[in-house]
């Protein structure tokens, strides 16, 4: 447990909260989906720091790739902008 780990965790926590708020406030749903996948990426780094490498791998594939793909397919079939 080093100072660098603490720094990464504190910065990651701040980015998580700011990213979640960014997801809620964007009117462009495609931008919100990409921001949500970046939240999942930071979360998988958190799981790695918390000594859970299997959960980190699953979160990286499911949260970053698969969820983004099904959201993009849905947005393509509906409207892109939230009015």
């Amino acid at each position: 447990m080093s100072v660098l780990t603490v720094l990464i965790v504190v910065l990651g926590a701040i980015f998580l909260v700011v990213g979640a708020w960014y997801v809620l406030t964007r009117k462009d749903l495609l931008v919100a989906t990409i921001a949500s996948s970046i939240i999942s990426l930071i979360l998988s780094v958190f799981f790695l720091i918390l000594q859970a490498p299997d959960v980190a791998l699953t979160e990286a594939t499911v949260g970053v790739a698969l969820t983004t793909i099904i959201f993009v397919v849905t947005i393509r079939n509906t409207k892109r902008m939230e009015e």
Binding site: V6, L16, V23, I39, F47, Q51, V55, T67
Partner: protein
């Protein structure tokens, strides 16, 4: 920095981040009008709960579960100096991530059906419950 101070900063960061994610997600589910935005908020709540569970099972200076040098050497006494983190919340969260993906996929399929019928994703304009 001392060890105790770092430990406290880490605990505050993990618990604070997970609680903030849950609260922001619930706010989004309750206030947003767009169906896709509601499902995005639901995935944010999901992520917050997963982070809360894994950080509850964490032990300071612990190793990853089951596969640790103490177990490999067959010495149980070594486990007291180098403990491993709790594997049960990790197994639960591993399942919960995949279930969350399934719930999101079903919700998005319903959103596509509703859009084809009503030509909108705003929940204020979808008034009748008939298909």
């Amino acid at each position: 920095m001392s060890e105790e101070l770092m430990q406290q900063i880490l605990s505050i960061s993990f618990y604070g981040a997970s609680l903030a994610l849950i609260l922001i997600g619930v706010y989004g589910v309750l206030t947003k009008k767009n169906l896709i935005k509601i499902l995005l908020s639901l995935t944010i709540v999901d992520s917050g709960v997963n982070l809360l569970f894994v950080s509850l099972g964490y032990i300071m200076n612990g190793t990853a579960p089951i596969f640790s040098p103490a177990i490999m050497d067959g010495k149980i006494e070594v486990l007291k100096t180098a403990p491993m983190v709790d594997p049960v919340p990790q197994a639960l969260v591993l399942t919960a991530i995949v279930i969350g993906l399934g719930v999101t996929a079903v919700g998005l399929a319903l959103v596509i059906r509703l859009f084809r019928h009503h030509n909108t994703t705003n929940i204020d304009e979808i008034r009748n419950l008939k298909w």
